[in-house]
Subunit: 157 residues, 2 copies
Amino acid sequence: MNDESPPAAPRLGEIGLTNYAPYLMNRIMGRYNASLREEMAQLGLSTPKMRALAVLSVIEGPLIRELAIYAVVEQSTLSRALDQLQADGLIRRETDAEDSRATRVFITEAGRASFETLWPHMAAAQDRMFRGIPDTEKRAFVGTLQKMLANIRKHEI
Amino acid sequence: MNDESPPAAPRLGEIGLTNYAPYLMNRIMGRYNASLREEMAQLGLSTPKMRALAVLSVIEGPLIRELAIYAVVEQSTLSRALDQLQADGLIRRETDAEDSRATRVFITEAGRASFETLWPHMAAAQDRMFRGIPDTEKRAFVGTLQKMLANIRKHEI
DNA sequence: CAGATTTAAATGCATTTGCAAATATCATCG
DNA sequence: CGATGATATTTGCAAATGCATTTAAATCTG
């Protein structure tokens, strides 16, 4: 009798929106991103520009295609975001020494300063998200996120 | 001596990108959304259209502004996504009985069918995200997400 | 080593997005 | 009840986005 088809995924209606993790995550991130929009606008930053600066504040001189992955921004979108950041003196591009097709990106002092202005708001937004959640729970949550990132990261850096 | 300024947020560099929850979540959701793009394209769905259908498959006849919140889509963007879904016969709009300014949105049978085609891919994408993560851990994770949603939801529905 | 293939980044272009304003209706207050 | 302000949705428009293509340089292959 072992002739059953593979078990069908339970319907979304059965799980309920609020038990479907990607829904919850999209919803939470939507709010997080929205809550930063005003501060970013004040600094003349869009989401792609902010993300690029955030990554560059931590990672020294990545290639543009690496930065696109870290910052979760389409390469062509990033290319134009970098144009603007460069025009504003917040980053500079440098042709890679070993591969002259490739370009490395560096944050400038002005870029670092700009990001330092934004960072407290980002930290506060995170704190709001985790308000009332014990530290152990938060740590476990971040641990799970790291496993998830490893899962989806098969062909990425 | 109690004259210190409030503790500054640790720098992103100190936390590290991979300990900053919003970064991890954005990165994971970026991949999740990308992994569905192809299936959606096949069905002629954009992200806003897909999200609207997903919510409508679970919630019966919400107002457009409610749908915008549930689906995490800007209202004006949603308005146009609904135009397209309606043109394709996947949803229909109905003026609210008590308030003729307001519009309720209903999924049609065709819309439900379209979403049913997409759903297995969404379920599979979630499974990939949680690959190798024990069920208790997943449940705890979703529990934390629900608390986080409650936190950011102060002024929402 | 020449030609073909792959890779990195930038760009052309049609579509999408989101802000602000417009439109339509409802609620409130004197 | 009429005027004023609030609310729901749509729409105009400039800017941003993403796909596909181009350009340039590296790598592979026979």
